[in-house]
Symmetry: C2
Subunit: 340 residues, 2 copies
Amino acid sequence: MTVKTRHKATIYDIAQLAGNSPSTVSYALNGTWKQRRIKPETVEKIKKIASENGYQVNLQARNLRKATSGLLGMILPEHDTRFFAELSQAFALNVRQREACPAIVLSGRGSEGQIESTRSLISYNVDAIVIAGATDPLPLSRICREAKVPHVFVDHASPDAPSVTTDSTKGAQELTRAMFARADKLRLDPKSQTYFLGGDAYLPSTRERALGFTKAASAAHVPILDDRIITCGYSSDSAERALTELYDARGALPSLLFVNSIICFEGVVRFLAQLPEREIERCVLGCFDYDPFVPLMRFPVLMMRQRADLLISEAFAKLDSGSSEVSLSYVAPDLIFDRA
Amino acid sequence: MTVKTRHKATIYDIAQLAGNSPSTVSYALNGTWKQRRIKPETVEKIKKIASENGYQVNLQARNLRKATSGLLGMILPEHDTRFFAELSQAFALNVRQREACPAIVLSGRGSEGQIESTRSLISYNVDAIVIAGATDPLPLSRICREAKVPHVFVDHASPDAPSVTTDSTKGAQELTRAMFARADKLRLDPKSQTYFLGGDAYLPSTRERALGFTKAASAAHVPILDDRIITCGYSSDSAERALTELYDARGALPSLLFVNSIICFEGVVRFLAQLPEREIERCVLGCFDYDPFVPLMRFPVLMMRQRADLLISEAFAKLDSGSSEVSLSYVAPDLIFDRA
DNA sequence: ATGAAAGCGCTAACAA
DNA sequence: TTGTTAGCGCTTTCAT
């Protein structure tokens, strides 16, 4: 009874084979047959024929008709850090729980690419978009708003759309406090030897972290001068270079070093690898980011791990609320430090 | 001239506004107007009106009509390792170069989820599917074949479909050889103290790596008994446990330890962290996987880095060739070792 | 309990 | 140089 066609089977093919009308096949196959009072035997017959012919519903057609897509879109700069990978992992998990299909676009760090990707997702009629790490949020939210597509920003917030972000200021404050406590314990004097390394000065997340860092330092009676905050970008090379310069200028490591991202931390570790251990021991290291191998290195590092899972579930909660009003939620990161 | 509607603008709306027919608008907006000899002024006018009204083409409709989707699908178990993240990164890059839209589905490690995800992608009419790390390839390739969807397996090959995979056997051989060379240099005796740790015995990739390991060991006149190959799974906890047991039983580390994955290596490092350095120095460590922080730890580790970029570009080359015949390509991994 | 038919937004053959 | 129209595969109202 199996029919051979060059194209994929449609409900018309199945209808032909079953001796029923296309609408009956449609009802039988999409589960709405109960309210149409289709005879169970008919349904059984149709289902059998459908599966024998490898029928798969064409969601493009269904969703065009129903004016949805069943797609949930995510815009992400890259996958080059654990954090972004965790974000997309959490996103995919939530989407699957909703029986939708994730469309994750890695759009690069450029604003242009992110705009293009957003447009592209909208053209696919995605039901909603989660935008993570937006370089320039405003044009993105404008485009989504014009297209009436529900959207939420994660990690980098937008001033004119629902957003969820890590509480960077408080997190940085907590991390810095913990670093000072450790400096105390090691009897190091952090006065005027306390540095912040990495990130871009014009990015909100960097500014917030620097703010939290400065606050906590002030509270510990360590004023932070401008030259203590070295925003050398997000590459490991530039971080390594910046730390090298700092070391050469001072003739020693700072007693307290707050590193702004895991990528920068790679550069820091590369530099430290050349130094004798007793020098590294005289420096309290903190990183506002996480990688499972860092706690296993030869020197202790205090880390702040962002909660990708909570960020995403909060983002979905916002989408579910149906409100597109501006709002900003904070998620606290976790302090990770397992050495005495 | 902007019109207010509750729904998204369509070519009919634009046609109305422009005083042209929908087909003219269609041609003007999708770039095929040159061969239709539409007047450039008309095109300009239409484009202007379209952008004023925030028109975005509905790709669902376009692709339904054209019987494509412009979507390229990828099935991936998880994002929990650099390798998988790099795979999806490379995939997304290639897809964007082709001006298509990536639909990346993280389907979990279970075969069921992978089958479901494949079905789902097919229902979206994806133009092709790249399947990475398939737990059970056969049902997946059957489903794709029945639906006539071009597909390619990456990392875990399928015996009945085009596949690209890391040359695990040769890679493991090379890694093992390098480890023996290092043992030689350190004047360690690897005889009967050479172990393989991690992975699942029933997975082809683990088997191939174990094979390469065994071959290289034999070549160095070190026969590998069955109990030297400890396939404890892919979790860091089980690897830590297995190594603990081994250590307790022997009273020392093996002189040569080949670790099968980065996740297992986390467990290994957790165990090593408790040991004095001079013990670790008496053990040559190798890992068939890569993480940027590992080369920066206190002890040297030889690593094999899989080439996600090459795997993916080779996969696309297969898709481009248009052939759906069974074929298996190998990509050599890179040996990473930067210490003396 | 089921069939006929309109229409989702677009493309492309056919007309003019 | 442009307009008209059929149809991609599906859902759903209306009819029977």
